[in-house]
Point group: C2
Chain length 370, copies 2
């Protein structure tokens, strides 16, 4: 019997497992294809401010807390795994194309100053000095020095290695059921029939978290996102560029030697796995609008995955209504950003401590009607 069984070997599940193992717990992760879910599609932006909507201040605080942890988390992870995770700290450039876009930049700027964050409005000329491959049609820019990025797939690979080095066992099978015994989560049943009995169970199945038999009802729904990966972008962009293209959003996140992620659609279509002609077209169209040199890049990969959405776009962290079950899901568009704070908070709880204050607003009981 293992102390902790983690259902789901994506970024969140593995990070929780690694951090829990470092606290001395025995941990088993179950996933038939670790990293093949939303983690495979994550662009790796660490952008709490530009991602948070107005009126989502608790989520923003959580994001900022996690962003602060990223440099040390990345350093520890690289040391533990011996693998680079591609942290880029050159900041993020937000650009706009028409009057409405520019007003949006101004509002974003004011919001950031209000929060005490470093942000600088740029003229079109200054924006292009920062990223010379930008189209001359850019109407204004905003340099957000604190918004960074990592290579999401590199982080996942490093977490696999770090978790293994810490003694985490990875079982490559599909999680079929939450085992409940005496009104308490007691382990995981595998598709192959075997069980992983455990003292506590962590639910980190992303958009499928609410689908696992045995799990109490959870307000998690799939929010489809399509992204593209391009190659040949060496020196095309220094850092992440986010653009408001006549009201539509697109982001360009460089990674590795010459990679570029272009994302992302946001679609309410259930578990539709389709990469569509329209989705790919819109992403390419907007990206080429922002950086015309993208036409020459190689289109390496198109994919569609599902973000775990919740009613307030914030994650579900900490104890579930079922004793022994701990939630680490519902990260929606912020999975990579929120990985360190999620892992630390959930590991604290698993190790017997209270749920840290920063995570307390995100327990599932905020949705309970009573």
């Amino acid at each position: 019997m293992t102390d902790v069984a983690v259902a789901g070997g994506g970024l969140v599940g593995l990070a929780v497992a690694w951090r829990a193992a470092r606290r001395g717990l025995s941990v088993t992760v179950v996933d038939d294809a670790p990293g093949a879910g939303a983690s495979a599609a994550a662009a790796g932006m660490l952008a709490p401010v530009t991602e948070a909507g107005y009126g989502e201040e608790p989520l923003l605080r959580l994001g900022l807390a996690s962003l602060q942890r990223w440099p040390s988390f990345a350093a520890e992870l690289e040391a533990a795994s011996g693998r680079p995770v591609g942290l880029r700290t050159v900041g993020t450039l937000v650009v706009g194309f028409d009057d409405d876009d520019v007003r949006e930049l101004d509002a974003l700027h004011a919001f950031q100053l209000e929060l005490g964050l470093a942000a600088e409005r740029l003229t079109p000329r200054a924006a292009r000095r920062r990223e010379p491959s930008l189209t001359p049609r850019v109407r204004g820019g905003l340099q957000v020095s604190g918004d960074h990025s990592v290579d999401g797939r590199a982080v996942h690979a490093a977490l696999l290695a770090a978790a293994a080095a810490e003694g985490v066992e990875l079982v490559r099978d599909r999680v079929a059921e939450l085992v409940v015994d005496g009104g308490r989560a007691a382990g995981l049943r595998l598709a192959g029939g075997a069980a992983v009995p455990a003292g506590q169970v962590v639910l980190a199945l992303g958009a499928r978290s609410g689908q696992l038999p045995g799990v109490p009802p959870l307000p998690v729904r799939p929010v489809k996102g399509q992204i593209l990966r391009l190659a040949g972008a060496e020196e095309l962009l220094e850092g992440t560029v986010r653009a408001l293209v006549r009201g539509r959003q697109v982001y360009l996140v460089p990674y590795g030697r010459d990679g570029l992620v272009v994302g992302a659609t946001v679609e309410d279509r259930g578990f539709d796995p389709t990469v569509t002609a329209g989705g790919v077209h819109d992403l390419l169209h907007d990206a080429i609008d922002v950086v015309p040199g993208i036409t020459e890049l190689e289109l390496v990969e198109t994919l569609a995955r599902w973000r775990p959405g919740t009613p307030d776009n914030a994650p579900l962290l900490g104890p579930a209504s079922l004793p022994g079950l701990v939630l680490a899901t519902g990260h929606h568009r912020n999975g990579v950003l929120l990985t360190p704070v999620t892992a630390d908070a959930v590991a604290d709880l698993l190790a017997g401590g209270p749920l840290p204050e920063v995570a307390a607003p995100f327990t599932a009981d905020r949705f309970r009607r009573d």
Copy 2:
């Protein structure tokens, strides 16, 4: 020793092999990945008129001769292989978007009437009655009843089966060299080191035909084309739609149960294998412009291959300057269309007959300077 060794197991090489074997010759085809070259990207249009440029009348005659053979070729191939080849005989609809496009339709119409071919100018309304998924922005149409299509990959699979049934041997290795003995083509050397000695050798290596060591200089160059395959197009289009979109051309060719090929870029970039962001964008953009419902389809495949181009866009058929070597290459954009006439003409020659008159204008010596 085999009577005939064929270098290249694409559509043309296999069809030649099949037809030669039916004439009683022993035939060996060598290809490490049969059908993975230009054949994999072929949309399958059988459209001699809309593909032929002005001043290319000999090529047009060859295309018309091959088009005439397609129904019986398809029937024989289906009978010999037991596999369908997806011949569609509903004709092709050409549409235009602006004044220049409409003038182009008129010119094409006049050209077709001059040739005695069935073609009918359609109002925008009539064009949309024929294909209701067309955008209302279409300015005019031309119904070309004689231009058909096949499923290129289905044809290739059928040729593999038919050739095997006729006793053709397929060696799955890369062709490394043309063996020349006493000033005569004498077989093929394989990458693995072995040789296939043969009485005659057919060169059907597509864009790579001029690259094979031992082959005399040939004016064949790669002309890159990018295409897309979409799924979910059941009942979206009845037949092929070609569009002139403000001077740019795009074609939409339905195949199978719900497939749709969108093609194609024409790029002079040597053997560049890259599927580019710009290429995919332009194809999607133009296709969606013509049939807006395409946005909803699944993008299943993007690929880039090389057409074998020649200085006059026409194939190289018949005897090479080197005795014992027979050419079946240089088919550029017309590989699928020209497969039957090529196979029959080359098989006649291999069997000891003269090169049929229809193929005579396409021997390589038309490019000899003397």
